[in-house]
Symmetry: C2
């Protein structure tokens, strides 16, 4: 059974559900009975894989599904995890499968997503953030440097990246206090200390390493997919005023490491396969280790909404992962070309994903053009950056030939500074 053929599940799934039979992502959930089980999703439900394995459907040691993170499951390797996903598809399509016919099993396995808590799915080792959207890099370069030479000299030769903080990456649904820190107002002689005034989101995705390497190993672009387990949505919260003052010469630090947010479902690379598209032309020609073949960009519709406290959400950005200049495979080949080792659970984010149209800009910095063009939300309020009480909600999905594969949502709320 493959994701390219047409599948029909006996489970009720709405046509606009992110969690069709073609998706079957992985996550970790808890509820009053369960501390932490590995699960998948179908329609409005989760599928408890620990309970399902009580029927021995996967031939695995069941304890791998009784964990607080997916890492041990992912460590089993793609040949196994892929088989688990295909087996799930089979059980959900075959109307005579044990999952359909055994009422007790079915009752233990399926729970409404709204009745459970989705937990942080991954114990993240190292976290890397790239800067691979050409529209984003061009916007930032135009705003802060020279519109005629917006891209720095290295940008079109390598996927610029930097290391970030793993400890403060949280799963969707959390809240955090507006960060405080040093800022240097343009007209001030000395820096001042206080709550960040220019709090921003960054619309990103991130991929999760599914297979480790040893120090000294390098991965080609062709080998990269074997080492990528899947993807999540990623909000790289940023304090622009702190960033401006601190980031020269060693990069962003306190402007980014106070909080990041990911979506709870890890969508596998296999589920995303049918949505591959061609990317931007890459000129000048890259060094050979960055060449790749085939269509490796992915058509993922991305959206950002701001929901003020007590109000409805307003969509402020409609972008797409296909606007990335560098692919994940190029990012990973670059990351390992010097022999840097990677581990299962490492997370590598895309960088802000902006598209060419102004409504596809992936940050308030770009959407409000440095605060010069405020956005008006549905409740009539204006936003140059993010206010206290705002919830920022990112969503993403692929759709083609009636098949839909989505990420659910990635949301977090800003509390006032402590």
């Amino acid at each position: 059974m493959s994701t390219s053929s047409s599948l029909h599940t006996w489970f009720e799934v709405k046509t606009d559900s992110d969690f069709s039979i073609y998706n079957l992502p992985f996550g970790i959930y808890s509820d009053a009975q369960v501390k932490h089980h590995v699960c998948s999703a179908i329609g409005d439900s989760i599928i408890d894989l620990f309970e399902l394995e009580s029927a021995d459907v996967f031939d695995l040691n069941r304890t791998v599904f009784d964990k607080n993170y997916l890492n041990d499951f992912i460590e089993l390797g793609k040949p196994i995890t892929h088989k688990v996903r295909l087996k799930l598809q089979e059980l959900l399509c075959n109307a005579n499968s044990i999952l359909k016919t055994n009422a007790n099993l079915s009752k233990a396995v399926f729970k409404k997503q709204s009745d459970v808590t989705l937990l942080m799915p991954i114990k993240i080792g190292d976290y890397t953030d790239f800067y691979s959207s050409i529209d984003h890099a061009t916007n930032v370069g135009t705003m802060f440097r020279d519109p005629a030479n917006a891209l720095l000299p290295n940008w079109k030769h390598l996927p610029v990246g930097y290391h970030g903080r793993a400890s403060s990456i949280c799963v969707s649904g959390h809240s955090f206090h507006r960060p405080k820190g040093q800022q240097k107002p343009a007209d001030a002689e000395l820096p001042v200390f206080g709550p960040c005034k220019l709090l921003d989101f960054e619309l990103e995705t991130a991929f999760i390493i599914g297979k480790s390497t040893n120090m000294g190993d390098t991965l080609s672009t062709a080998q990269a997919d074997e080492h990528i387990f899947g993807m999540v949505l990623f909000n790289d919260w940023s304090a622009r005023d702190i960033q401006t003052w601190e980031y020269v010469p060693l990069g962003p630090f306190l402007a980014k490491n106070f909080a990041s947010t990911i979506s709870p479902w890890v969508v596998t690379l296999e589920a995303l396969e049918p949505f591959h598209v061609k990317g931007y032309e890459q000129h000048p020609v890259l060094l050979p280790y960055l060449h790749y073949s085939g269509e490796k960009n992915i058509d993922i519709n991305l959206q950002v909404a701001i929901q003020p406290l007590g109000a409805m959400p307003s969509v402020v950005c409609t972008s797409n992962y296909k606007y990335m200049y560098y692919t994940m495979e190029q990012q990973l080949a670059h990351h390992t070309v010097n022999g840097c080792n990677i581990n299962v659970g490492d997370m590598m984010a895309s960088g802000t994903i902006s598209g060419p149209q102004p409504n596809a800009y992936g940050s308030m910095l770009e959407l409000s053009w440095k605060g010069t063009k405020p956005l008006t939300l549905a409740d009539g309020s204006e936003r140059r950056f993010i206010n206290d009480g705002d919830t920022v909600i990112m969503t993403g999905y692929c759709e083609r030939d009636g098949k839909r594969v989505g990420f659910g949502s990635c949301a977090a709320t800003v509390l006032p500074a402590k």
Copy 2:
């Protein structure tokens, strides 16, 4: 019993040993019998704490000493780990202690350091590198920017730091292949790919977080010590040609993440207490959250030697941790001022520690002044940067009033590019 009083141990310790009765650092070792035990050091020996706890001297669950990392031991908290260290001092000073009188116990507990393998002591969570030596920052600014304005505007207002890669931090004794990557020769139009030509060491120390915080928490400089378990020597290997091309605007990435080296012994903050000294004057006055009281710099003599393959080592740098402009307490207060959470096992490095004298510069970049002043080693060979086959050996120790507390050595060997 305190470290400020004079102690006499019945165990034979040479006067120039790094591992006097005043030190008692913590590490992890293995040998033919032992897979991984927590240990301490005295003179030329290690002290197996798992074996020692068979006599119930610490009143702890013995399994905490049967681990592949110190993290669980450190998690017990300073009140406990400090008591363990004091108990060890007592057992090693009291000639009637069970460790002296019970020959079987003694035989199981003491092993020659040269007969065991010291393992990576810490499972590192997040790794941060600071840039806190004013002499180093001034040298770099003078070489690459403007001698008249060598320090960037933010440097004297905050301890500049950035996130680094934890996965490739190894314990002393390893070797690694010279990294490959993109470089952009000054006279070339396009970047080229190949082995790094300007491989460098950076003489640093690093401190290890001993107590976690929650997101949103901040630590004052006065609270910081409670969260710092101890220190190690740190070699932040750097590929200068890769760095120059990649690091604008988001900081060093592949130029640093191919390998770092730490010393195997974690020297506790308590053992370093008697060696505190006053630091540089800090002007202009810092923002209040960075103020601190007392003498918080530490007089740690640091040395770097280069040992070519088959030759004797030559000392190329003699520096001191006391030359740091910012203290560890300031670094940690800064790191958490935005609410960034820290975890037990996080590692935070000092940045290259250069002193004011040219022989105290902590990197080849500075020692050879960008390659313009080659150093001559004992074997007659010249070095501008590090050659294949070279072993770089860092050592460090404190000494005052006949009391010596040292780190042992931090060494690694460069293999040719793969």
